[in-house]
Amino acid sequence: MTVIATESLSKRFPRVTALDRLSVDVGPGVTGLVGANGAGKSTLIKILLGLSPATEGRAEVLGLDVATKGGDIRERVGYMPEHDCLPPDVSATEFVVHMARMSGLPPAAARERTADTLRHVGLYEERYRPIGGYSTGMKQRVKLAQALVHDPQLVFLDEPTNGLDPVGRDEMLGLIRRIHTDFGISVLVTSHLLGELERTCDHVVVIDGGKLLRSSSTTDFTQSTAILAIEVTDTDEHPDGTRAVRDVLQARGIDTHDGSELPGAGHILLLTAEGEETYDLVRDVVADLGLGLVRMEQRRHHISEVFKDSDDQALRNSDAQAPKGGDEQRKEAVGHGG
């Protein structure tokens, strides 16, 4: 079953080509749509909602043609925009009830579903207060609630983690995961952060300059290789234990890098594990040198790294995101260290 299918979909504006013969099939589940700003993500969503006609090609959402069945699609699909869209002078409850009715829910059902949905996104007592006084995280939850209130079969979430702090971002990503696992709603979520989507999505579609760069499942991206992180102690004999291990491994023909973007660079050694034997080798090398092995852990390969290796165009994108990607890894490192 496909939820979204496009066939050489193009959108040209007088001066720019926003989408260029994009053909992609998206199945149920959580799908990430990745691309730099201006890659064509929002244009694609607009076309899929039936709000903007494609220049050529065709697209179907839930088996409905976007060119002719826009209204039917919008009744079954939820949309959370990237920008602010909330009036500050009404409460979350009033606003979401109104939006539910705009989706065709009868008044009583609209109220009931609003209470349910706001609870599911994590808004409790504050939902009776005017939205103007909410934090960014709470506003994002209201935006998500209005996209879910009519129990759609599919939701488009445009940059849902924008402007959130790390904790808020984690909560939002967890929520997005639950939209599929608990609510049974398929999700198309856009982001320009690959690392974020890696943790949330079943499938990732990468577009750049309106062209499809890659579409494959997240496990394909991340399981091809395993990165091993090693940290060793220093001894009198080897004042710089890390360097000693690296030199020996290098001699055995294993490339290492020092994870320079991580804090405490130089203490952690990253290498690619080809198989079981690599683990044994590391253990033996460390033991032979008489060092203590502080940690040896598998670190999941980040999608961004896959793209760095595999595609020049993606390199350009992920370069722009490098600081954020580093953030992500740092957080993980801190988590493991603790």
Partner: protein
């Protein structure tokens, strides 16, 4: 039979009610399989929400103050007139039904200037419009709902004092047929006025997402046009060129309404010297009024065609 375990967090949210403690509630996500009433229902919902909003209902206390105050101000003179008519056992009401709105035009102008921007600028400013268009409704539904809502709100504002006058006139035992005819003519007149003023108010306020600018612009359009027309008419009257007075009235909304009701609804004109339009000129007035209403609708459609996501 496995029972779904509510999560610990969820249980904390729902205090167990006495007598229901033995029942295990599944308060996980529930799918909605009830009716979805579609586009026409969504349009009606937007209409009723906007109409209520035009009187501050469903909004903060602060936003109720002005529309309610204007509503009261609109009705008080009618109440006083009725009281006087009943007390003095007058043979007729001091003011014609058709004349009332012309006298109270400042209040009507203030109302449309405050509520027009409220109806459309808020959605533009807080970018709520894309949310509407991500739902079954389309541009035409949005424009019609908003236009109809503001026109209805203005009709309520302008027809309520007429109703007060009518009820008062009947209480004062004035001639029933006479009063009913006058009341009906007054209603037709204020219906036209509501459509015209709502259209102008919405077109002007949909230009800017800033509410303040919208208010100022609507007041400016209404007062400047009326000021200019009445001044030039007064000059024309002084110079005894009474033929031009009716034609000048075509250039401001309230004089347009005045002209139409003078020609067709048995009103006496408020123009200088009572020089209202003849029935021939009245047709021109009516065409201009209807043209303006249609033009406002067309401009709104054009304005919102571009406001996508």
């Amino acid at each position: 039979m496995a029972v779904e375990q509510p999560s610990a967090q969820a249980t904390a949210q729902i205090p167990a009610r006495p007598g229901e403690q033995s029942r295990i509630h599944n308060i996980g996500y529930r799918n909605y399989d009830g009716p979805r009433l579609g586009r026409a229902y969504a349009r009606r919902s937007l209409y009723s929400q906007s109409l209520r909003g035009a009187y501050g209902l469903g909004r903060s206390v602060k936003s109720k103050v002005l529309p309610m105050l204007l509503f009261v101000v609109m009705c008080v003179p009618a109440l006083i007139m009725v009281a006087v008519a009943v007390a003095t056992k007058a043979k007729d009401l001091p003011v014609d039904y058709t004349r009332y709105a012309v006298i109270m035009q400042a209040v009507i102008g203030l109302y449309v200037a405050s509520q027009g921007p409220q109806a459309v600028s808020r959605d533009l400013r807080f970018k709520t419009v894309p949310l509407y268009f991500s739902r079954p409704i389309e541009t035409v539904d949005y424009v019609r709902a908003k236009y109809a809502a503001l026109a209805s709100a203005m009709f309520v504002l302008t027809a309520a004092p007429l109703l007060v006058l009518y009820v008062g006139a009947l209480l004062a035992k004035l001639d029933f047929a006479d009063q009913t005819k006058g009341f009906a003519q007054g209603l037709v007149s204020v219906a036209l006025l509501s459509l015209l003023f709502a259209g102008i108010g919405l077109v002007v306020s949909a230009v800017t997402p800033r509410r303040g600018f919208g208010i100022a612009a609507v007041i400016a359009v209404l007062t400047i046009s009326y000021g200019a027309v009445s001044t030039v008419q007064a000059i024309a009257y002084d110079q005894n060129s009474t033929d031009t007075i009716p034609w000048l009235g075509l250039f401001s909304p309230i004089t347009l309404i005045d002209g139409v009701q003078t020609a067709f609804l048995g009103a006496t004109s408020a123009f200088p010297g009572g020089e209202g339009p003849s029935s021939g000129q009245g047709v021109v007035y009516l065409i201009v009024v209807l043209g303006l209403i249609a033009g406002c609708y067309g401009l709104l459609m054009r304005r919102y065609r571009k406001v996508g996501l």
